[in-house]
Subunit: 711 residues, 2 copies
């Protein structure tokens, strides 16, 4: 069991919204941000997969009714919390919230404990305790399910209610609500029960609330506890789930929940010793990555900001496959399979996307919601009238996501050996994505090469470029994968069936190989890969050492950034790290050095790739500093937008850098190899590595490393 201390957050150290993200609880079905129960808010509940049509953002996760509120009045007057302290007990998956409710005569000491049950996926439980310190009078306790939540839009003045209440009732035992998404695709039921040690709570249904309320007299020293249980169901089972849960008290539910969490931590075998902040962040990120996975769902649609906030609207980006997947792959491989199953489920939509864009095969959308169609906003208004707008072209032009999915299939198969997945869906993903690229490449006779014109690479400063190194490299790799997997598939009956269903012919496979072997990769002098064709003829600008973000770029340079060699994030570096086996160490180093002075790291996806590559090429000191930044991104709110949600890409990317850059896990002809180094601030690291159905205990300290198979 890791020496996992409780995380204590206070508003003195972090903005409220960042704390609410960091204390979000999820079981991969229900997710609830850590907004305190005592405070009115429009922040409600996410249910995995429940999206709705929405302005600007195509479809987004619906901000469903708020279920955790507990409002307190003294002699009728609403009380407001102060001196708030939030504690995340990541070992047990529980959030504790303490606050003072100052009132006449003294204050009430409030302690709330909440959980989103790790095993009973439909259940949320809350226990609140109030202790009077000098306060006398009558307390009103109100425990509603609130039906007035809405999705904040852009500008922030706009809120969009994406559900409609279709049923609402209260009886002595429970209150119930049924809501339907505004586009009618999903319905969700909620049922809630509540009880108190001393107050007689009564169920009610009133306006935009159902709930329980009651009153209780308090004297100095009085203790009042209250428990609230909520069940949510997309299968019409909220009432029966609630009834079953109501037979247990909060302690019983908390015990079974915490047991499950302890089991999970044991399973990971993760132990880290060293710099406290880094270790904290490692555990915190691991907790958040773990809690979003729900083994009971057919796939794992993991949004770029988790289920932790409205950032990127619950959309899935390449962050999932390229940055987050390796963590699950090594530590929780069944979750990584379900990440790929999400793309499998949406393969037909990807075919439609390709066709609509005049291509063949399957094109995955840059941003993906529940239906697999392109969900990237086209423009974002900057003012209320929508007269000034930011135009967003990534949905139209950022195509590498399709190759990233193929890359993830390959990575998954290498480390799991899961042949069944390949024949079930992986091969189809490789083939259909390759077909997209085969139709997307054009033959440039002047170059004698295949080229891709007009894309956005990972570096989004440069829009509509030709021959993006990253894109062309990954696309060529995608074609190679499709060709080699198709050739191998011919050897087994399952594989042959896939090839036959998809009408893959030998000549098509040869075409993929021919294109892949003749892809144009723009190259400068001195072994530097050109980020895209013509990049090196742009105005040069190099950043001061240690600069992160755009703050250190002069405004006038930023204003013409697309005309300079500045890049927003790891791009060539990302491609080199992902396909490091294809490049010499010297080549990796040279490009790393070149681009690091020209990268603003304005995206949180940048640093992890730099960290990974730096570690891989042996620049341990730089790598360690970068890794620390990536790992601490949310714990320290480094990008100042943790409030919008958990940075899945940063947390996963830090793990990726650790696994592949520092520990240097590598599949080699079916065997696992490691060549670990640790950052200097880490004394010891231990974890269970999953590889091809087996589990290995990897232990590293300053002096030595060991890996042994677990029985």
């Amino acid at each position: 069991m890791p020496a996992l201390k409780k995380f204590i957050f206070t508003t003195a150290e972090l903005p409220d919204s960042a704390i609410h993200t960091l204390t979000t609880l999820s079981n991969g079905f229900i997710s609830i941000r850590g907004v305190p129960e005592l405070t009115e808010t429009s922040t409600g509940t996410f249910i995995a997969g429940v999206y709705c049509d929405t302005p600007l953002f195509y479809r987004e996760l619906v901000n469903l009714p708020r279920v955790v509120s507990l409002y307190v009045r003294l002699d009728g007057v609403p009380l407001v919390p102060s001196e708030e302290v939030f504690t995340l007990d990541a070992l047990r998956g529980i959030v504790e919230y303490k606050a003072k409710l100052v009132a006449r005569g003294g204050y009430l000491e409030y302690t709330g404990v909440r959980l989103v049950h790790a095993k009973r996926k439909e259940v949320v439980a809350l226990r609140g305790k109030l202790v009077s310190r000098g306060v006398r009078g009558r307390l009103t306790l109100d425990l509603p399910v609130e039906l007035n939540t809405c999705n904040p839009s852009v500008p922030e003045n706009i809120c969009v209610k994406l559900y409609r209440v279709v049923e609402k009732s209260a009886d002595s035992q429970a209150v119930r609500v049924k809501v339907v998404s505004a586009d009618q695709r999903y319905s969700v039921e909620f049922a809630a029960g509540a009880k108190s040690s001393r107050a007689a709570l009564q169920a009610y249904a009133a306006g935009e609330r159902v709930g329980f309320a009651g009153e209780v007299e308090v004297e100095d020293g009085s203790v009042v506890t209250v428990e609230k249980l909520v069940a949510a169901s997309t299968a019409g089972e909220a009432a029966s789930v609630l009834n079953a849960a109501l037979n247990m008290d909060f302690n019983q539910l908390a015990a079974s929940h915490s047991e499950e969490w302890e089991r999970r931590w044991r399973e990971l075998g993760l132990e880290a010793e060293g710099d406290e902040e880094f270790v904290d962040a490692l555990y915190l990120n691991t907790f958040h990555l773990l809690q979003m996975y729900n083994s009971e769902l057919p796939f794992f649609a993991l949004p770029a900001r988790g289920f932790h906030g409205h950032g990127y609207r619950g959309h899935v980006f390449w962050d999932t496959e390229i940055y987050a997947l390796p963590f699950y792959l090594i530590l929780k491989p069944e979750a990584s399979r379900k990440i790929l199953m999400y793309r499998c489920a949406l393969l037909n939509a990807a075919r439609y996307n390709a066709e609509r864009n005049g291509c063949r095969g399957a094109q995955f959308p840059w941003e993906s919601a529940d239906d697999g169609f392109e969900a990237t906003p086209r423009e974002i208004p900057l003012d209320l009238r929508g007269e000034r707008k930011v135009v967003i072209r990534t949905g139209e032009l950022e195509h590498h996501i399709t190759a990233d999915v193929a890359y993830a299939v390959w990575l998954y198969h290498r480390y799991t050996g899961d042949d069944e997945f390949i024949s079930q869906c992986g091969l189809a993903l490789l083939i259909e994505t390759a077909r997209f690229w085969a139709s997307r490449f054009e033959y440039d006779s002047s170059k004698g090469k295949y080229v891709i014109r007009r894309v956005i690479g990972p570096d989004e400063y440069h829009v509509g470029v030709d021959n993006s190194f990253y894109t062309n490299l990954l696309a060529a790799f995608n074609l190679q994968l499709a060709a080699s997997y198709s050739r191998q598939a011919g050897d087994q009956p399952e594989g042959r069936e896939v090839l036959s269903q998809l009408n893959v012919t030998d000549s098509e496979v040869r075409e993929w190989e021919r294109i892949a072997e003749n892809v144009f990769l723009p190259r400068g002098a001195d072994g530097v890969w050109e980020e895209f064709e013509g990049y090196l003829s742009l105005e040069d600008y190099t950043l001061p050492e240690g600069c992160i973000g755009e703050a250190c770029v002069p405004e006038d340079v930023l204003a013409r950034v697309e005309k300079t060699r500045l890049v927003k994030q790891a791009d060539v570096v990302a491609g080199l790290f992902l396909l490091r086996h294809l490049f010499s160490r010297e080549e990796l180093s040279r490009n790393y050095e070149f681009y690091k002075r020209r990268t603003t790291h304005a995206s949180s996806l940048s640093i992890p790739m730099y960290a990974g590559l730096a570690a891989y090429i042996g620049k341990l000191e730089e790598a360690s500093a970068l890794l620390r930044t990536a790992m601490l991104a949310d714990l320290k709110n480094i990008y100042a937008n943790t409030g919008d949600g958990f940075h899945v890409g940063s947390a996963g990317g830090a793990w990726t850098a650790l696994l592949f850059g520092f520990l240097r896990l590598e599949e080699n002809r079916g065997k696992l190899t490691v060549a670990p180094v640790l950052p200097p601030y880490l004394r010891r690291l231990r974890l269970t590595v999953n590889f091809r159905g087996k589990r290995y205990l990897l232990e590293v300290d300053g002096k030595r490393a060991s890996i042994k198979e677990l029985s």
Copy 2:
């Protein structure tokens, strides 16, 4: 004093939203919809002139914080009203609201009385009384100012908060809030006080509320009263206004408020006897038209749906000058002057509009907010993603509003003789609008006439037509007015100064006359004016007798309505009624008969013009039926959208038809003439007519009419 009964509305007869419109209270500064104080709602407060940038609608009236709420709990449990009865005492300007709050043991009988003070424009007062019928326990009374109101947008899922709270405080006497519009143009302060007969109320500030709350024990028969006073100020005076008001109790405030209302009714001298519904509607409409006028403001920006709802977003249309102005002109002439002052204040914006559209002079916007620029939405989304949209071209093409403003100047001057207004602004309005038309007309040499291409007339079924009869007619009249007023202005020093400031030359005046005399008005055979050039060559379709609205038009006809002769509303008929002195009675009759069979009356603006013209040409029976429909539009929710706000055009238009069609008021060489007939359902009508600074008592009954000057 009119025999003005109280209006009693129940939800059995009308939708809630229509009742909320009909029980809206306003003093022309503060306006509050009749949403009951006991019910949570996002409907807050309008302050005249406080608009903000907004999605789709350019700028709209800000839905400011809600100030009238009074929430009740029993033993902590929220109570919900039932058996609601709303009473508008239009004689005294007070709304009474009764409801039952059913609770354990029986119910609480609630009676609320509210007013928006007619003289103390910054003051809103509410008194609530609760009587226990069998209920025992502790009541919580909560009287907040709620800071979570927002402007509902389209689709209705979207709400936009158009203000920001910048200050919030509570002390023992009062709670205070200061808000600023989201675009920073306006700030509004609110201060509130509250007291109760039995509960000790305590001020609080909590989350999105400030307010007063407290508890009280009740037994069967207990009576609890509570009073809430709110002051609102755009001049930073809310606190001092509140302090002054707090020295008075509710009864004193209600007395001074009611005295003012009784004085207003006495001033009007309005008495009507006859059909109860018609008389009710006449008084009701008169009340709503009266209450919106605020003599303390420099101008009277009267929105098409009043301050009664979000319909048309607080925008001002031609409804104001053409439909509503005559009521004020005859009954409250200082209000009609301030209606014109609104256009005066925005003359520079109108000059900008003209210039932007490649014209000269001043072009008033089809929809006008607080800044005088075009505020018509260009498209309205039909779904959440905004993929399906209704395109609205009236902002671009419906130009007659500019001539309507000039017409209103003429009407105002004829009936008031207010020469000072003419030299202060009226003449400038006439000149600048004429300049717009002079640049908008083109000379068509094949016709030897001046033509206007590509407009929308009042009939919005036909978009982008050439030579709209109404538009060309009113534009020609505008040019004539400018010419004749300019010629007369040359005789006085004030007039000469205006002409000199605006650089009006003799040759320009002659050009206006030349164009006006040679305007092309499309004419069919048989003396029927063609609604626009080519109209009579469209497919004919005649409606069944007595058909109102589009429901009686077959769907396939409606789908190609722009290809038929169907018109949405009075168009040629409107032009003829407005300028009836220019046409023979035979011509008026012929066109009335032709168009009445082809008009769907899908706009509430249609029937009043038909009623007026029918009465004017002596078709008393038809006219009376039409007048009844126009007058009852809101009382009977005839257009099923009274919930969106009060139909200013319909109420004002019914009055216009009554004054000019039935009573046949007419200015004739500086004298007032009348030739009254009454609809058969009206036994007697009496009112004070204002004409050229004098007041006349007009009395009409079935047998005779009299008019005498009042001293």
